[in-house]
Subunit: 404 residues, 2 copies
């Protein structure tokens, strides 16, 4: 099948499976390239469905719905990892271009598949084993000590499906509930890093600076670009690791390699093969954003410059506060945005149009500058204010950190 | 009427009249603010209609169509000046918020109204008069010399409706064809400048650096930000002039004041009360783009920082070349974009999705850096390549200017 172009514009049509904020922000990048993203969304109120002209409503687990999204599209790509591999193979067999392809994508879908591939490649990762029975966990813990980390091989995100387990009773319960689990040593880490690359079918690779990701309760709260005080040799080796993985797995599109930094270097935690929360800073902070680069890569366009636009860039997620649910009694959202804009005229807002729920990623903000402490304080205070609508806290936090 | 918010997101809905590239780029800005632009377009294939989720098809000269676009919108704004004043008043009378309001907008719609208002305000402008008969032109030319400039008071853009006239016979023909005309002296100018400001109903004003606009055949070809070698006192006075005009006319939203720079200072050429070609550089080149700022202003949100993100920013329009029409025999558009991306990985593309026609504004590119000659050569070569698909010319041009 030749790659279809939009007859109206003469330009490609990228179909993205999933209607979340990643699709939403990819639509912004598509518009600049003369395109308009086609979005497969489960519901017309999903984040990307609210802003795309070409929305296919359907279920990403249903082949027929995927086919409707793929028909007439130049290439099919994803804003999440939840499309069944057999459907992707069926689409490929029908002549559709899928990026990343199912053989690559499975490494972001299944943590056991990833662990085996990294072992074969000799890449650094935590000690691990596959556990079907409590004995498997007990044997692993005898070698590596308690606690251990149990993970469901598939379907986890934002800390879901990850369990730090102190004894065999707890492990037994989890195995009964979930079946086969991945068991990992609990790594003594300094911090978490993310190395992002884009790779095109042609094999061109583009690499951004390695960033620090600050997690809170298993959810990304802040991203600091570049990772502060990261020795250059370690940064380079993390970038080279990401490039090796992208090449070896044949990734097409964005790849985020989530890393644990330890006393001895870095270990691979997991992969995402799509735009990723650790790269939202690139919208304003790099010459080419991860969203534009993902489009370029899946279309086999030449990749754009990844140069930073400022010495320091900090992204802070706006996570729905306890007070953002049904019983929210603070300032309405529109009023909070007014106050945010008045107080932080140079902090950039990205609001996803999603319903307010505690803990949900509702949006993010990005601050740029020269001084990490100042830039970080600004981003974090702004994000906290948007989440909670509490002025005093946010301002106190900001002041405290500005003074530091 | 209370200002409606979108029940789904709790955020405003801005309705923009007109489906061109200004609406298209405003949609990108709306997405970041948690919104989605409602677009009134004449046709589903218009630039913005291709990328907006909420498109009302209709005619901006029909009140009923305008009412459909305004219903449920928080505020109605414009990507062109062609909506009849009486319709805007009717919408206002029905309780809709219109920004800019009809009393302000008429100064961007009717050049005679603008000239009178500037005279009353004592602001600098070319000598002018209103001509109904050839005698009016002859008298003006006796005072100011030939050639004179005749302009249709309404409906002109991109050099259309502007005539440089050498004698009374030519003027007579134009008066017969067009009726009442504005007559202006032909100004001995150094160059053209543009001073952009945004103003909110609250009265907050934000000002960007004054830029130089380079015209070719009456159409904007390049914008240099900031205007090179502009004395600071003159830049400041041009900014103050733009602020005074915005305040005096009660502009809400973006205002571009197009200026002639002369030996003696600046003269006002004309106004645009919307995002404007002279501000496209702000998408990457300023902390807040004119598109985001227009949304903030019409919604009475606090305005964003206008700080530049690089010392020099150059925008170059991609104007359809002679070879881009039906008989185009060069590389197809998608292939040209490949080559563009390969050769200029750090130049940013904005493609409007419009049909290829000679002279039409098809897109623009933006380059950023430290050295004007280098940045300008990069932007211009990239834009020329995209327009013509001719590699040799563009590369030669680039090399020549890089050497300069």
């Amino acid at each position: 099948m030749a790659s279809p172009l939009d007859p109206q514009t003469g330009l490609p049509v990228v179909a993205m499976i999933g209607g979340g904020q990643l699709s939403r922000m990819t639509q912004q990048a598509a518009i600049a390239l003369g395109q308009s993203l086609r979005v497969l969304a489960g519901d017309a109120t999903e984040s990307a469905a609210l802003v795309a002209a070409d929305v296919v409503l359907g279920d990403h687990r249903e082949l027929a719905d995927l086919v409707r999204a793929a028909d007439g599209a130049t290439v099919v790509t994803f804003d999440h990892e939840h499309v069944p591999t057999e459907h992707l193979r069926a689409l490929q067999d029908a002549g559709h271009r899928i990026a990343p392809g199912p053989a690559a994508l499975v490494h972001a879908q299944d943590k056991l598949v990833l662990r085996r591939a990294l072992r074969e490649a000799g890449e650094p990762q935590p000690a691990w084993t596959r556990a079907e029975r409590p004995d498997d966990v007990a044997r692993f813990a005898a070698d590596h000590g308690w606690p251990v980390v149990l993970k469901t091989p598939r379907g986890g995100y934002d800390g879901k499906g990850v369990f730090v387990v102190d004894d065999i009773a707890e492990a037994t319960g989890l195995l009964e509930r979930h079946g086969t689990l991945l068991v990992e040593e609990r790594v003594e880490m300094v911090r978490e890093l993310s190395a992002q690359v884009a790779r095109s079918p042609f094999g061109q690779v583009a690499v951004w600076p390695v960033v620090e990701t600050v997690q809170r309760d298993g959810v990304c709260a802040e991203v600091l670009a570049p990772a502060p005080d990261l020795p250059e040799a370690l940064a380079t080796s993390a970038q080279e690791l990401a490039v090796r993985i992208a090449d070896r797995l044949g990734v097409v599109g964005m790849l985020a390699v989530e890393l644990f930094q330890t006393a001895g270097g870095v270990l691979v935690n997991e992969l995402a093969m799509r735009p990723h929360n650790s790269g939202h800073w690139t919208i304003e902070g790099a010459r080419t954003s991860q969203f534009e680069q993902h489009l370029r890569a899946v279309l086999d366009y030449p990749l754009g410059s990844t140069a930073m636009t400022a010495p320091v860039v900090v992204m802070a997620n706006v996570l729905g506060g306890a007070a953002t649910g049904e019983d929210w009694s603070g300032a309405p959202l529109d009023e909070r945005i007014h106050h945010f804009m008045a107080h932080w005229p140079d902090v950039k807002l990205h609001w996803y149009g999603k319903g307010l729920r505690p803990g949900r990623k509702l949006g993010h903000v990005t601050a740029l500058g020269d001084d990490l402490a100042e830039v970080r304080a600004r981003a974090v205070a702004a994000a906290r204010y948007l989440a909670d609508g509490v002025v005093d806290d946010a301002f106190a936090f900001e002041t405290e950190h500005r003074g530091a």
